[in-house]
């Protein structure tokens, strides 16, 4: 469909506009690149067409975008030594340039707007309006192709801009099922026939075939597939696994994949908790209890300290009674790790002890982390499971 459209612009000089919408990693850019490549193979097109690539992340406003367009259209040398003046001058200059042409005589231009939604945030959407307006009138043939992952992109457009857009949308979805996913996995891993070492290629491909039939591998992939259908994340997983391949360990194994998957799906916060000191763990537990008691109300350092003191008094023999400044330091460290966060509306002049905080860890996360925590005193562990255990 896209190729057809582009061909018509290139050959017939018909102006078009189209949006390609799809979630990240669904191959929008790949599609457009492929289409352009195919288009360029047709000889009459390749010598006939101009391309302008813009990215919403790079061209953050219309002014930069305009400059980029002029650069890519090679209009600079036409301008010669004329110093590029104001934004307004630029705009009128470019519009004039684009207006000059008509359907049959001038060279069609393909505009590719990556991150199209960001262009819609520009002031007045001047650039989009003008591009669409040209594509809707008898001027230089344009094909405006927008790439975006936002499904509500049309609502972002102003109504007059929207009216000028042709409402062609191409939706790209990762609509494949798990069997296809497996196939892709296999294709990605297999070595091509042109690989110099024939014997190794054969053995490697056999190994890959074996892997796809392995149950544990399938499980890992299924899990990954559940989380994300994105091909890019699959690449990430495979990359992690392939990094383990060395000359002494020439073939990928199921264990490699499992490990890679574990790396991928690791909970970052639980990892941080593993690295905390006993005192900090105690503080987090105290906060957890406070959360339970007061039902998610924010707490301050004094409350946490009191809770901690209560625990220490009961179990004085197992936990060293830290002084208050030391506890304060630990508390601040937690804040630096962003495990706790001050409530937004706190005024600056409140004392640090009374600044209201919120815990950014879930109960289940805390419990899971505690179970894996090395050398955790049993008293602490007991305390964590029940706030009443000291009674």
């Amino acid at each position: 469909h896209l190729i057809e459209l582009l061909k018509r612009t290139a050959i017939h000089g018909e102006s078009n506009s189209v949006l390609i919408i799809g979630p990240r990693g669904s191959g929008k850019t790949t599609l457009i690149n492929h289409a352009l490549k195919e288009l360029m193979e047709v000889e009459e097109v390749s010598e006939n067409i101009l391309q302008v690539h813009l990215n919403g992340l790079l061209q953050i406003n219309d002014k930069i975008a305009l400059k980029e367009i002029t650069r890519q259209l090679n209009l600079e040398n036409v301008v010669g030594d004329k110093v590029f003046g104001s934004f307004a001058e630029n705009l009128s200059f470019l519009l004039e340039a684009l207006k000059k042409g008509d359907r049959s005589s001038s060279c069609p231009v393909i505009f590719i707007l990556d991150e199209f939604d960001l262009f819609a945030h520009h002031k007045n959407q001047t650039l989009l309006y003008n591009l669409f307006d040209i594509s809707q009138s008898a001027q230089t043939p344009l094909a405006v192709i927008g790439l975006t992952c936002r499904l509500d992109i049309l609502e972002l457009l102003e109504k007059r801009v929207k009216s000028r857009f042709s409402h062609r949308q191409i939706h790209l979805m990762n609509s494949f099922g798990f069997p296809q996913y497996l196939k892709i996995f296999k294709e990605q891993l297999s070595l091509p026939a042109e690989f110099p070492d024939k014997i190794f290629t054969e053995r490697w491909n056999e190994n890959v075939q074996g892997l796809t039939e392995d149950r544990s591998v399938r499980e890992v992939l299924q899990k990954h597939f559940n989380v994300n259908k994105n091909l890019r994340s699959l690449h990430m997983l495979l990359m992690l696994a392939l990094n383990r391949v060395t000359s002494s360990h020439p073939f990928m194994t199921a264990a490699d994949l499992m490990e890679a998957n574990q790396l991928c799906s690791m909970d970052s916060k639980a990892n941080i908790v593993h690295g905390l000191s006993v005192l900090e763990i105690c503080l987090i537990i105290a906060m957890k209890h406070l959360n339970d008691i007061y039902e998610e109300e924010p707490f301050n350092f004094q409350m946490v300290y009191n809770e901690f003191q209560k625990f220490v008094q009961r179990k004085a023999h197992s936990v060293y009674n830290f002084e208050k400044p030391v506890v304060m330091k630990a508390f601040e460290h937690l804040q630096q790790l962003e495990l706790i966060r001050p409530v937004e509306r706190t005024s600056v002049n409140t004392q640090r002890e009374y600044q209201l905080m919120k815990l950014l860890l879930d109960n289940t996360q805390i419990m899971n982390a505690l179970q894996k925590y090395p050398n955790c005193p049993t008293d602490v562990r007991q305390w964590a499971t029940s706030s009443l255990s000291w009674l």
């Binding site: 018909e14 307004a88 200059f93 809707q136 992952c149 949308q169 979805m173 609509s175 259908k229």
Partner: protein, 862 residues
Amino acid sequence: MACYPTRLKTRQTYSWVGKPSLDQKLRYYTYKEMSVKMEGDLTEIHIQVGQFVLIEGDDDENPYVAKLVELFEDDSELHSKKRARVQWFIRFCEVPASKRHLLGREPAAQEIFWYDYPACNSNISAETIIDHVQVVALGPDEVIPVDVRNEETLFVKLSWNEKTFRPLSPELFAEFDRPQESSPRCQKPVGAKTKGLGSPSSTTAEHAIKRIESRHSTSKFRQTPSHLVTPKAKKRLELGGFPRTPSTRISQQNSGALLDSPRRSKRKVAFSEITSPTKRSQPDGLHTSSPALKALQKTGEIQSSCAADDKKASPNCHRILRTRVPALKTAEISEERRLTPTRGGESSAVPSVVLKPDSIKKREAEEPEAPEETTSTPHRIRRKSSVLTLNRIRQQLRFLGNSKSDHEEEEFLPAAEISDSGSEEEETPTPTLSRRTSSQVSKDPCSSMKSSLQTPSKTPKKTLKPATPRHATPQIRSRNQAAQEPASMLEEARLRLHVSAVPESLPCREQEFQNIYNFVESKLLDRTGGCMYISGVPGTGKTATVHEVIRCLQQAAQANDLPPFQYIEVNGMKLTEPHQVYVQILQKLTGQKATANHAAELLAKRFLTRRSSQESTVLLVDELDLLWTQKQDVLYNLFDWPTHREARLVVLTIANTMDLPERIMMNRVSSRLGLTRMSFQPYTHSQLQQILTCRLKHVKAFEDDAIQLVARKVAALSGDARRCLDICRRATEICEFSCQKPDSPGLVTVTHLLQAVDEMFSSSYITAIKNSSVLEQSFLRAILAEFRRSGLEEATFQQVYTQHVALCRMEGLPYPTMSETMAVCSHLGSCRLLLVEPSRNDLLLRVRLNVSQDDVLYALRE
């Protein structure tokens, strides 16, 4: 004064004579001659480059006088392609009244002034040229002949640069001699055609002041080298820095008595030719004018007197003049470039003099004579000597004009570089001057360029003007292969359905068309102004209708049913900023470029002042709402101008909202807008159907049912004709795609159209949800569950997460970690299935659905 009778509507045809010579650099053709043919009058007037011409202007009695420098064809201009470049002359009545006293005497009836003002626009339409005229240059003490032989003869004595009157420089004189020799072929007084063209000489003086100042400084620079040779003259130089103060005059005279003066001015003879074309002695009448004038004049006189004595200086002089004359004759920029280095060569004379002590001595020996004369009877001697030198210079010029000078020029080229560096080094003694001069020296090529631009044909403005063809060329390079013609019926239909295809007529907008047409026509006929506000949702044909109206009006104007008018179109969306609208209007109206504020002033002046003859202007402002500013001054001006009778401005404004005047405009703006409003209703289905059938008149590609279907569909949604056409276009594509099987009929059927409509209007959310991964789906489910639990439409991430974990446990999915879930959440957020806060909030992140809950449920059911 000669009176040129006004003849209205005399058609004159202008045509080129002779072969064009292509100017490679500027990409336009230059011509040597042009002929003007009068309607009903068989005589042709031939106008050649170098002749003096009359150019029509505001005042019928006194058309502008100018010298034709170049004729060329310029495609970039809208009004007329035949362009001419001229050197203006100015009549005394055109000099601003406040400055007239500077002349210090009564002007003669036939006297004109060389308009030495670089900022003046000298690029005019060749079709404004009326006739040629004879201009005679007079020496400073020649009396303007009272017994006028011919009313067509005008006399030039002085040049006027918006500030002072100056005598003409010898080069200019030389120029005048030439065209007089080649007598005009035909001399027939022609009636002035009254057609308002922007008066070119009335450009404001902002630029001029700067330019003149810079020129002053260049001339100062040119003077400096002489002081290096003779340190005694330093005092003089300092005085030269402030030529305006009255004290200068005295000290100047004092210093004139100094012995070194002649030598100084000897050098100056050489330099003065470069600096300004004005150093010429003046008639006595001017002696009482301004001190500044006097100072200049005096130096000029001394200089010339010295030239009379000094034989050494004359070769220098020769060269300058020689190089200048050819440059003036051919007004080519390439010439100008060659001029620059040779110019530099002149100043190289200075170091060379330093190296030759004996030559200095020689001069010193000569010195005593001149100062004695000047001190004793300054006035008379001065006059006498000036007459002498004048004659001599004229002779020299005549002689030199014939001889070839290419040799000398080339010889001087290498010297130029040395001179620049040399003078830079030596100019340290006086701090104030060295500062000035060094800055000048560093910019030397450009400053000398500038001074060369003072010559008639090349003001800096003009260097921009020749750039216009260059500026207009920005064009997408044309395609290498011709666009293919549509092959099949479907392709033909698609072509016709494209929005850009201009239909022959606009169906269903006859009423609106008539209203607008009547409105504009009546205003044009009454020669008044007015506003009209047109509103309507996008795609209802507002702009198209107005364009059609204008087209019809233009046709009518061509057929002489209507007075001619100028049409300007601006689009609020195509401006970067509301105030830019002034710039656009001005540029389209007159071709001038200006800043927004300046353009506003010029436009106000143009529209508010009464002019004798002026065609009406029709201004179309599209997307009016974007011109809104805090102060609303843009809107105010746009609507205020038409209320003035002289403006003859008809403003048509277009916007989407019907109540725009009430909503955003202040009272004083909306009251000026008036009550002439029109709103375009969205098309009904029958209208849309008519439009489609009209477009597909001769192409049988659509089934009738199909057209009706699409018309109804679109009318129900928006009534946007653009949408309608796009759907049809898409349908033809689908049809074409499916018709590859040979048995199908090749007609667009209802099914094809339905498919197209579905494609365009279907919501993508449901398909997106259907295609999302398992975890994403369960996360959405968790959100729904959480909403149901809390009864709110919003939940924090933590709450959803607990639900999510529970759900996963129920469905037997592996336990999802927090990080994974967060990734899922942000992924959904980027697709805008969810509305999420920035992820800084982590667990407390608030999540909302962007889709209705029912849709999610429907999508998840499968």
